[in-house]
């Protein structure tokens, strides 16, 4: 837990919260960061040139940290407080903050001046923050001179630093924790060698509003969960192992010519019966036949089977009844026919998809390999269409399921006339809902037991006159299942390793267990191995066979707290270090959890076991290797989603319609922040690019949302950004703006709070319990603009103190609507996105906000990013005792050019990261 003195309820804001625990924690961060703001930034009230002042104060911090003897912390200077500081405070603050008027429930007259020994450090940090930022005393009524202000601030700064040292040497922060649900899942994937979903049965983490999911304090555990670990590891091990002979493969070889001819035949049959039916009425007969033929010939704009030989176009038809559309499976390997004259022409959109019904013979497990022969449309040279694969079934009118099973869109590059083979491997056991009527119903019966695959052209946008066709031409589909490239599969062999000892059960068991344990646990002793071998011997008699007994033992290894818990172990104390250092194996685990969200690989474990992992050069190499590894994308995904608190985007539903949030847009919105971060990591781009950049990382759907031409395809890539688009960085990303809207319109308060909380790590206090609602039934209020309403709301005394800190930030975003699109007007009125910060700095809309952050708050922004990333990397909240380290890392990052990859390296090579 964190220090006692931090657990006192604070209320320089509005209230004592109903949930004191979460409340306080939020404030610990808030105050802590409040201080940071001072160190880097200052305000016009303190000095004429904010940056000069900031630099000066920054250098004070550095000098002190370099010069002060680490092991002899200074005592607080109480004498100076009594004689010099208290009188000043009394004059400037006590009027409103003492016994008579304890505004905001705060009494300045009762503060304990012993920062480290007393209980008031959080109060002092807040005093420090408001004084240094010029927010208190209230600018309009303050008579405090700049000189006096600086005098108090200097004293506070010095005392806080002394307290930091004391606090740090008493260090009681711990990252000891269990793996999160997603980390456990990745760890199983990496150990078992397949990217499957293993940990879904674990409960979701009860993530705190203000923390990361891996925050050590919030990771709880229950008896039910303990049972679940064992059950799910057992299931995971059973899924990756096999028994018996290789199962026979079922094949489908389906040419689109066959599909077309089938449609044609059904059509011909209908024509024939119609002809007969109206034999006696030639006039009616010919009109009926004409109607039928007209219906059969599909429009070229819609998906269809095309027969070049006859020029006929038949619509894609599919329904589940009687499994009429099911293609027959075969036990023989189909031979791929030569290209003929019939294609399925698949246009973009889920309604234009090609459904291939496979009947009821797909197995439950194993890989389903889907191959198609496809090309682009005739004459297309620029446009690159893309394809997704779905799996589904329909048993009855309502009973159905459909799921996208392809991970990434496949780009179809083959030109017309030279089709190529495109292939997907789908693990059937990963499909949660299968048709439960397989086996109990026959094909043709109701409920229908068949299943289908569906090809969706995911190219954004329809063909227009002026652009090339996005259609995809498929002429052949081949499916095989279950496909095993080896038997037993590699995952099985990874566990049941090849061995000369295989004839001797116990010896073989020992070998298997030793190999597995030393990969799964970060450190393993002979005694630990002995015990698992004993367990094997103990359960072997009651088990079905050797394999079952081994799997049971391996499951206990993965369910063990020695696998589940990290950052444990005895801590080495080195004489020349003030803090306990992590053992190297735990350092490897911390590094791996940070950048891969998983347990360390063999390279890291080897470096740890040979003691090389603390070498800064080795660490730098490892960080680069890990970030460049495909597993590095997990870092981008989980850090960014949690840092930017993107969960609300998960609750949005796509909507149809012209200006709606379509599925492609929503999906792209969720991806954009992650894609930007990943791109910046790749290029070691400046952290300040989060604030503003002259490039975007977007795909076609987002580019068109932003009005940027010339971006094609669903992959994200870096695109140069002309100024006039009002984009760049995180602040203007559509997803983040949408998330901080109310569905109908922008929401300046949400946007302000989000910016302060996540990007600046300076969260405003939560609203008081009885917030006066904005009364829209009042005609006077109803006719106000949004900005005016907010200003009116702010006039309430109860709201003022918080909202003057929040609103100006949010109003700067007013040029972006509920879906993050740029706008100049609302309801015919011009947007007024100008605002004034509490310290009297004016922001002129988004451009002004970005400029202010980049110029005046550059160091604060870098520091906030350091803090967020450090908290994620350590798996715990930072506190007061981490301040000096954070300052040092921030300095190093900035000196080294301020790149994001540089930040990762500075963090990993810091004492903060390497100590407990």
């Amino acid at each position: 837990m964190i220090q006692n003195q931090l657990t006192r309820p604070l209320s320089m804001n509005c209230r004592v919260n109903a949930k004191p625990h979460g409340y306080i924690k939020r404030w610990q961060v808030a105050l802590f960061v409040g201080v940071c703001i001072f160190a880097l930034n200052s305000t016009a009230l303190i000095a004429e040139d904010p940056r000069d002042q900031g630099t000066e104060l920054g250098s004070v911090v550095e000098d002190e940290s370099n010069d002060t003897e680490v092991n002899v912390p200074e005592r607080p200077d109480l004498q100076k407080y009594k004689t010099k500081i208290e009188p000043l405070l009394k004059w400037a603050c006590f009027d409103c903050h003492s016994e008579e008027h304890s505004e905001g429930n705060f009494r300045a007259d009762q503060l304990d001046p012993d920062f480290a020994g007393g209980n008031d450090i959080t109060w002092w940090l807040e005093v420090y923050s408001v004084l240094s930022k010029g927010e208190m005393p209230p600018p309009e009524s303050s008579e405090l001179t700049d000189a006096d202000r600086i005098f108090i601030v200097d004293w506070l700064s010095a005392e806080i630093q002394k307290a930091e040292k004391l606090r740090k040497s008493s260090g009681s922060r711990s990252s000891f924790r269990r793996l999160t649900r997603y980390e456990y899942n990745y760890a199983l994937q990496d150990l078992l060698g397949v990217p499957w979903t293993f940990a879904d049965d674990l409960p979701e983490e009860a993530s705190e509003d203000d923390g990361f999911e891996n925050n050590a304090e919030s990771l709880l555990i229950s008896a039910k969960q303990v049972e679940t670990y064992y059950q799910l590891t057992l299931k995971a091990l059973q899924r990756v192992t096999v028994r018996g002979e290789r199962p026979p493969v079922v094949y489908w070889g389906i040419s689109m010519e066959e599909a077309f001819q089938r449609e044609k035949k059904w059509h011909d049959d209908t024509v024939e019966s119609t002809r007969k039916k109206f034999e006696d009425d030639p006039k009616e007969q010919s009109s009926q036949l004409e109607r039928l033929n007209r219906q059969f010939q599909a429009s070229n704009d819609r998906s269809h089977y095309s027969d070049l030989a006859t020029g006929m176009r038949a619509k894609f038809e599919w329904n589940y009844r009687q499994a009429k559309y099911a293609f027959e499976a075969s036990d023989e390997v189909p031979s791929m026919p030569a290209t003929r004259s019939s294609f399925a022409v698949v246009h973009p959109g889920s309604r234009e998809a090609l459904t291939v019904d496979l009947g009821d013979r797909l197995p439950d497990v194993g890989t389903m390999r889907v191959r198609i022969r496809a090309s682009r449309a005739e004459g297309v040279t620029q446009r690159v269409p893309s394809l997704q694969l779905y799996f589904g079934f329909q048993a009855t009118d309502q009973g159905r399921s459909i799921k996208r099973v392809s991970q990434r869109d496949v780009q179809i590059l083959a030109p017309y006339g030279s089709p190529e083979i495109y292939e997907w491997d789908i693990p059937l056991s990963e499909i949660e809902y299968r048709n439960t009527y397989r086996g109990s119903m026959k094909l043709g019966q109701q409920p229908n037991p068949s299943e289908y695959i569906r090809f969706v052209n995911s190219t954004v946008g329809r063909s227009r006159d002026d652009s090339e066709s996005p259609a995809i031409l498929i002429d052949y589909v081949e499916v095989a299942a279950p496909v095993y490239d080896e038997w037993p599969p590699r995952t099985h062999q990874n566990l049941f390793i090849e061995s000369d000892l295989a004839h001797d059960e116990t010896a073989y068991a020992r070998e298997i267990i030793t190999t597995f344990m030393s990969r799964a646990w970060r450190q393993v002793t002979p005694a630990e191995i002995d015990r698992k071998v004993e367990l094997f011997q103990h359960i072997r008699a009651g088990s079905l066979d050797f394999q079952e007994a081994i799997i049971d033992v391996l499951a206990t290894i993965l369910a063990s707290p020695k696998f589940l818990y990290v950052s444990s172990g005895e801590y080495e104390s080195r004489a020349d270090q003030e803090v306990a250092r992590l053992p190297q194996a735990e350092l490897a685990a911390r590094l791996s959890l940070f950048l891969w969200c998983s347990v360390p690989d063999e390279t890291l474990l080897k470096l740890a076991s040979t003691g090389q992992l603390t070498d800064p050069e080795v660490l730098r190499q490892q960080v680069n290797r890990m970030l460049d590894d495909p597993k590095g994308s997990r870092f981008a995904q989980h850090f960014v989603q949690q840092w930017l608190k993107m969960r609300p985007l998960e609750y949005l539903s796509p909507s149809r319609g012209e200006n709606g949030l379509d599925e492609e847009l929503l999906e792209s919105m969720k991806e954009e922040p992650i894609a930007l971060f990943a791109d910046m990591i790749r290029n070691d781009s400046r952290i300040l690019d989060f604030v503003d950049s002259d490039y975007l990382v977007v795909n076609e759907r987002l580019a068109s949302h932003y009005g940027i031409p010339g971006v094609q395809g669903n992959d994200f890539r870096r695109v140069a950004l002309p100024d006039e688009f009002n984009r760049g960085g995180l602040l203007t990303q559509a997803g983040l703006l949408t998330m901080n809207s109310d569905g109908e319109d922008s929401h300046p308060v949400k946007r302000g709070v989000w910016l302060l909380t996540n990007l600046l790590n300076d969260p405003p206090p939560p609203p008081p319990p009885a917030v006066p609602e904005i009364d829209l039934s009042d005609p006077e209020i109803a006719k106000l603009s949004l900005k005016e309403r907010i200003e009116d709301h702010r006039d309430h005394a109860a709201c003022l103190s918080c909202h003057q800190k929040i609103d100006p930030w949010g109003i700067a975003f007013e040029n972006y609507d509920a879906l993050g699109r740029w706008r100049e007007q609302v309801d015919g009125k011009s947007i007024d996105a100008t605002s004034v910060l509490p310290n009297n700095i004016s922001l002129n809309g988004i451009a002004g906000l970005k400029k202010h952050l980049a110029q005046d708050r550059e160091e604060q922004f870098v520091r906030a990013t350091v803090e967020k990333m450090a908290s994620f990397a350590l798996g715990r909240q930072l506190d007061f005792g981490d301040r000096a380290e954070v300052t040092d890392i921030t300095r190093r990052v900035r000196e080294a050019g301020g790149g994001i990859r540089t930040l990762v390296i500075c963090l990993v090579t810091s004492d903060l990261f390497q100590s407990r």
Partner: protein, 468 residues
């Protein structure tokens, strides 16, 4: 009909008194200990029974309105049952009829796919991958499932899980996954009273070894931790110990003898081809399971939605062919009466079940079994596949504080009714009446069952009017 009654009574007579029912061992929660009810702590049981397709709701001006409406006429204590529902008359002091309740997320859902949500109140979207949430019965089973040999009994006429949006089970676990329902009375009977699950015993032994192992590893690890980490880690240790206790209790159940039952009774597997007998046998299973305290939680889905299953043929009990078709045929002359007769049959069997509980004194407690059993009976459709204004009956549970003898009519003056004659379906029509949230009833049910909860499926609020 009389014949059927007679036959069943004979069989039941043969069956004798003491027996029990339940679900497979080592399902999600493990059973713990035998109930040791003293008079002070009566068992609290929950059974939820569902029928598909909705109920007759002729228009007011329709000649069938008076006789064949499902909902009684009137409200409060001043109401009159119809021919469809007058079978409730004898037990009216143990029964409350409800109208005007539904789940907000289901109100625009077609009646052919609303059974999935009946006990979960989940928001299920069709445009994304199917996702349900935990059902009412499983919330309660999580709390008390370890008190009995089986955490819960999950039954349906059609069996299994069905498919997304066409469930054949009412029960969904914490992860929102369907729990397979058992459909054969004989198999349920065997599971509850006859067959030892040898594999379950073996797997339990293995679970215990695994937990021992986790405990040993944990003790090892704890020894290396600094003091404050030890404290944090103790939560884990306690959880393992708690899990061990649960496995131990489960093992005790495995070795404990079953209640004595006359096995001859279920040598024949009664199928839905004998509809009334089948329905009675399924209700008997709940009765026996409750009576022997083999479980305290049961669900029974009398039929899946939209026909297309064996349950559709239950209508043969009263001389019709397919049950679902009756709801479509209400547009024809006599249609309301036919559907009314079928619903009356379901009501009859539910009342028979409730009466049996009422006639049985609580084996080791006070009052009757019905006083200690809370029964929810109903459908998620009212007028033609409309997922609003659910027809609901709440019965029993007097010892838990429920007050009966009333018709709580929240349906408003003109609930949507009438036959569907093509065109726009009722469920597509605008919502003109604001139904009560059914989750409020669920919350009160859970609270009276002894759970400390204020909300269900994310919706806060209860419905104290149900209580005395």
């Amino acid at each position: 009909m009389a014949n059927n009654f007679h036959r069943l009574d004979r069989r039941r007579f043969l069956r004798g008194a003491g027996t029990a029912l339940a679900l497979p061992l080592l399902s999600s929660s493990l059973p713990l200990s035998a109930a040791t009810p003293d008079g002070e702590s009566n068992p609290k049981r929950l059974a939820c029974i569902y029928f598909p397709d909705g109920v007759p709701m002729p228009l007011r001006e329709d000649p069938a309105y008076e006789d064949w409406s499902w909902f009684p006429h009137g409200g409060g204590t001043e109401f009159k049952f119809t021919k469809c529902t007058d079978v409730f008359e004898p037990v009216i002091q143990d029964v409350t009829i409800l109208s005007g309740f539904s789940h907000p997320h289901a109100r625009r859902v077609h009646g052919h796919r609303n059974a999935d949500q009946f006990l979960t109140a989940a928001k299920i979207r069709r445009d994304v991958t199917y996702k349900n949430s935990i059902s009412l019965d499983q919330v309660y089973a999580e709390q008390i499932g370890d008190q009995t040999r089986f955490a819960s009994l999950v039954m349906s006429t059609d069996g299994g899980i069905g498919t997304p949006c066409a469930a054949q089970t009412l029960s969904f676990n914490r992860m929102g996954r369907p729990i397979p329902a058992e459909q054969s009375p004989k198999r349920i009977f065997d599971m509850l009273f006859v067959k030892k699950d040898a594999d379950a015993a073996r797997r339990l032994a293995m679970s215990q070894s695994a937990l021992d192992e986790m405990l040993a590893d944990a003790k090892d690890l704890r020894g290396t931790l600094p003091a404050e980490d030890k404290e944090r880690f103790d939560e884990y240790l306690n959880s393992v110990r708690e899990a061990e206790v649960r496995v131990q209790k489960a093992k005790e159940w495995v070795h404990k003898p079953f209640p004595v039952v006359d096995q001859a009774l279920f040598e024949d597997d009664i199928s839905p081809e004998s509809p009334r007998l089948y329905l009675q046998s399924m209700f008997d299973m709940i009765y026996l399971a409750f009576k022997t305290d083999s479980t305290r939680v049961a669900t029974y889905q009398i039929g899946r939605e939209n026909g297309a299953g064996v349950s559709d043929r239950l209508a043969r009990a009263v001389g019709f062919n397919l049950a679902h078709k009756l709801t479509h045929d209400t547009k024809f002359p006599g249609g309301w009466e036919n559907l009314g007769k079928y619903c009356r049959f379901l009501n009859e069997e539910f009342v028979r079940f409730a009466t049996r509980l009422k006639e049985t004194p609580e084996p080791a407690g006070t009052g009757t079994m019905l006083d200690n059993s809370l029964l929810l009976f109903g459908s998620a459709s009212s007028a033609f596949h409309l997922s609003r204004n659910y027809p609901l009956v709440l019965a029993g549970g007097k010892n838990m504080g429920f007050k009966h003898g009333r018709y709580l009519n929240y349906a408003g003056a003109n609930p949507m009714s009438g036959a569907w004659k093509g065109g726009i379906e009722p469920y597509q029509k605008e919502i003109t009446h604001d139904d009560q949230r059914l989750t409020r009833v669920f919350v009160t049910m859970l609270q009276q069952l002894g759970m400390e909860t204020e909300s269900f499926a994310g919706a806060t609020g209860n419905f104290p009017e149900l209580l005395s």
